[in-house]
Structure formats: C-alpha cells, structure tokens
Amino acid sequence: MSNTISLNEIKKMPMMGPLLLFIVALLSGCSSLSTTTTAKNMTRPVMLGPIQHVKSNKKTPLYKKMDFDITVENSIVTSGGQYQQTTYVTEESAEKIDAELMRKLDSPKDKIVVETLFVKSARACFLVFCNSRVDYSGIEGGIYSTTPVSTGSSK
C-alpha cells in the first residue's frame, strides 16, 4: 500500500479544485508590503495640524515658498503576455521623506508644514491572479517662510 496520493486521486476529491483556487487567491494577498511615513532623522520640526507651538495657540504669519508632495511606495506590478512577463518592484523607505525635505529646505528659518498625510493600499487582480500590489503613504504640504517672499502667497 502506497502512502503517496496521485494527481488523479486529488482530482477525484470533491471540491478540491475550488479549494485549491481559493488557497492560491488567499496566498497571493498574504505577503506584506507595508510602508512607513515619518521624518525621524530631521532636526527641524515637521509640523502637522493647527497647533504649531508648545503651550500656545499663537499663529505666526507664514508665507509659502513651495509645495511638496512626497510619497513612499512599495509595489509589485507584473505585466506581460504569453511568452514574457516583467515584474516591476518598487521598494522605498521612510528615509526618502527626510532626504526630500532636506533637499527642499534652503534656509534654516524655513518652516515645514504638512497639510495632509495620506495612505493607500490596492490590489489589482484578474480572476484569481493578483498581478499588482501597491501600498503607499506620503505627505503633502509646503515650505514656509516667516518673512514675506516675493513670489509666494500668504497662508
């Protein structure tokens, strides 16, 4: 008596086909692609929300110098046809936020104000095959000056 199960025997098992498809569908979504947004390496405040000072509701007049929109993305996108498949993998880390903000700051007195912090996760699938997974998070905001700038607009 053999302990192995042949493919024909598996095929004869009731509901095995749908079950296998279901397991494949589940596994395709189980790998993690988390992204993190932070600015832990910055030595200047990267402010969020309406309160800009400790123990004070004081509003300092700010003048926008430039906008920024920085995204940290982790994605796997597979495309292709019958003979060739291409997989594009994007892996970005939270340090991208620090680097981009540092690049945009041109004066030590400039202030960084984040207006929106956004997150998104999406899976694109065709029947049971998920060929695209995208997770991203990021920040939108502006670099402000405390003194009027010639081309900026007042906040």
Binding site: C30, A39, V46, V54, S121, L127
Partner: protein, 143 residues
C-alpha cells in the same frame, strides 16, 4: 444561435468586470488636534525656537493607535474619516500631561481581506477594500 452569442457576450462582460482593483485610501490632517504634532523629534516653543528630544523635550509616554480605512470603487472613494485619531492623540497627551507628540510615524499595509474579496466577489463593480494603518509617536513634556 442567438443564445450562444448572448452567452459569449455575458461571459466576456463578466471576465472584464472581474479584472478590478480592491483597496482603500485614507487622509489624515489632524484638524482637531489640540497639541503640536511633529513627524520629526522636534517642536517649536512660543518664540519659534526649536525644542529637541533629549535636550528640551522629555519623552513621557508612547502613543500607538490602529486604524482601518475603508474605501470603495477601486479605492477612489474614501469611506473613513480620521476624527477618532485626533481624539485618541488628544486623550493620550492629556493623560500623560504632555505638551505635544513627536516622531509621528504612519505605517500602512493592505488588509488580507482585499485579496479574499477580490477572488470570489470581483465580479461586482463595487467591492469594499481596506488598508490597515498604525499611527505611533512619542508623547513629550518640557524638561
């Protein structure tokens, strides 16, 4: 013969609809926050001087909040707000008698249910998707 054509058209439509995207997006702007919040380890005092963690700021507690954002229609339409996050931050800082939150970090990851939903229900044009988000930070007080 008409039945064959009709079946072919129906199957084509069903397969086309099954190629879809499931997910969610969320926005946080901390509009109801009562304390200063920073993504970096620094805050401003009343005179716009920079206060740094370990120098002028002392960590008195950790903040952690888990939030699930829901969305429909290929993650375009947002179904979850973020007011509860602001309230959780305000409560946590007040409880620790802190003056603000620093080192804010948002980690996001798609729910496993996105893939589960995709497979059997992808034929439906409107499928709810979600993204799991962990919001963490350090509650600080003045030294």
């Amino acid at each position: 013969m008409k039945k064959i054509y009709l079946s072919f058209i129906l199957v084509t439509i069903m397969i086309s609809l099954s190629a879809c995207t499931v997910g969610a997006r969320g926005h946080l702007n901390f509009a109801d926050a009562k304390y200063p919040i920073s993504l970096s380890p620094a805050l401003y005092d009343q005179n716009d001087n920079v206060l740094l963690k370990g120098k002028q700021l002392n960590v008195v507690g950790k903040f952690k909040y888990e939030k699930r954002f829901w969305g429909i229609t290929y993650a375009w339409i947002r179904m979850s707000g973020s007011k509860d996050v602001d309230e959780a931050i305000n409560d946590a800082i007040a409880k620790k008698q802190g003056v603000g939150l620093i080192n804010l970090a948002i980690t996001t990851d798609g729910c496993v249910s996105n893939s589960i939903m995709t497979f059997p229900f992808s034929i439906l044009p409107v499928i709810p998707g979600c993204t799991d988000t962990i919001i963490e930070g350090d509650i600080v007080s003045m030294k």
